[in-house]
Symmetry: C2
């Protein structure tokens, strides 16, 4: 009685059992109306034989897989988990399944991923990339299935996109300067990534508007995680001269809180800290983390909805959404 010995009922079996053509079975399954006397025979046969339509047969014939592929650069990062959750929220209400693509941190991983989609294992693609590259752009433009882009990676225009507006750092800076005054340190992630670059730009501009050269008030972590944040902060000399720290994401903010706690510097009374992403982490840290919200779960939901809408109706206009940053105040600032 091992799994492999059991054999599945097919539509043919159902048709024979119900004494009906296979086409009628197919039509019934796909929600078309069938003759009154036929319907009960089919339902009976289906449950008697425990029939379930075979995905591969269906996919081959209809060239629809009922699968959506989601690319997640790094599943360890809470912000991607939140986005994934948003995508699931929507997909779970439909009969689409969610494929989690392999890690796509590097350009090569991105290219391999986009390339693989040519194998037709997904009907739609939700693309998230930390890196930008002409090769990615080119490969992406050759994609044969509709895609939604979450984030600010640059691709061709015939695609629904959900970007985040640039103002996060500016927002944080204004808030911190207004509230506390003093000097502000920006703990950034790698500027080789899109958010790293954009946030750096945001910081420098915001500082420039205040007549300050921001370059002397920045430190760059090697990646967007806690360890890299700790390393980066340990290189900052005389950290206590700062009145506040803006961190490029919540994990770096967690690193900041940790560093400051080790140094016995009180947050927010001596130094205030603001993160970006407003992930679940923010509520868990102590002090709880003031963070800029980019509505990650909502972005995931939006992306899923966009891809479903487009699959439903390929001709709808491409939608370009910008999510505005919103400061969520907690204890750390």
């Amino acid at each position: 009685m091992s799994p492999s010995t059991k054999t599945r009922a097919t539509m043919h079996d159902v048709a024979r059992e119900a004494n009906v053509s296979i086409a009628s079975v197919s039509r019934f399954i796909n929600g078309q109306t069938v003759r009154e006397d036929i319907e009960p025979r089919i339902t009976k046969a289906i449950s008697a034989l425990n029939f379930k339509p075979n995905s591969a047969g269906r996919a081959l014939r209809a060239s629809r897989t009922q699968q959506i592929c989601l690319s997640v650069p790094d599943i360890s990062n809470p912000v991607y988990q939140t986005i994934t959750k948003g995508v699931q929220n929507i997909l779970n209400k439909t009969d689409y399944r969610l494929m989690l693509a392999p890690r796509n941190l590097s350009v090569e991983e991105n290219l391999a991923l986009i390339d693989s989609l040519d194998s037709n294992y997904a009907d739609g693609f939700i693309f998230l990339s930390l890196v930008d590259d002409p090769r990615i752009r080119k490969a992406f433009s050759k994609l044969r299935i509709p895609a939604v882009v979450i984030g600010n990676v640059q691709v061709h225009d015939e695609v629904d996109t959900i970007k985040v507006s640039a103002g996060a750092v500016e927002l944080a800076l204004t808030y911190l300067v207004d509230k506390y005054g003093g000097e502000v340190l920006f703990l950034n992630g790698p500027t080789s990534t899109i958010p790293g670059r954009n946030r750096e730009k945001g910081f420098l501009e915001a500082m420039k508007n205040r007549g300050i050269d921001g370059t002397k008030h920045m430190v760059e972590a090697e990646s967007f995680d806690v360890e890299a944040g700790l390393v980066a902060l340990s290189k900052v000399k005389n950290i206590s001269k700062y009145r506040s720290i803006i961190c490029a994401n919540d994990l770096l903010a967690a690193a900041a809180l940790r560093s400051l706690s080790t140094l016995k510097i009180d947050v927010p009374n001596q130094i205030a800290v603001i993160g970006i992403d407003n992930t679940d982490l923010a509520n868990v840290l102590s002090p709880s983390l003031t963070s800029i919200d980019y509505k990650s779960e909502y972005r995931g939901e939006l992306a899923a909805q966009f891809i479903l809408d487009r699959l439903d109706n390929p001709k709808t206009l491409y939608r370009k959404v910008n999510i505005a940053p919103e400061l969520v105040e907690r204890e750390s600032a």
Copy 2:
């Protein structure tokens, strides 16, 4: 030049272009040796036509989808994210793809999930469930594809399983009592779940061995998350009489740290806290969290490896692995 107008090259096209039979193309693609003069013609045709084999055709004919389905009760919980990461670590080295199943918190969701696998969209199933039920057990036993179970849900024996040994709470208790003495509170998750039940049992037994009735030193949160933990703890009267708190997972421990911080109770000097799961969270909290490690990422890797091994060779003996708890000491205890 919209995606839908482009048409894909098939194996027939490649065969024609290479002036070779379709069977030879298929064989070449699947790694069989072909005649010397044929191989370059095929490779050339493939790249000229940019041919990629169609997953559906392949799946239908070979009845292999190259997909593994992973069920994750609740993707918000860091421990499942870590397990997912482990699974990915292994799958990404192969040409199997990862399907993330919809949430399966309730019995009904589990039944629907298991049932859906009959549609043959996955070659293997990695099953994780928080709940236990005869119906689940029965449905699971009818599964037509090999499965690996992570966790202590009870199913039939013809399955590879990766359980966690029961000793976590006992381990934490011994450590806390030895180190700090005094009374210990157990902050549990819902006892309607398998881990909740098991951890309660572990606590009560461990207490009994010390001649204490544990039932008076337990509090049950409604779910395994921070909010529920806060609510549960707020109901504990005179919390400061305890010398330490064992929490059934890291999220509940985060809640405990938060509560205690609000109450200005110092951790670990007044009350020590231990979590279970040793997720990324442990290093991020302050004070950093002492936690019982059940090697989540490794469990994910093991599960993926088990399923791959079994797909490779269905006759291997079913493996039953027990992961022993290990206390990872940090600041909170």
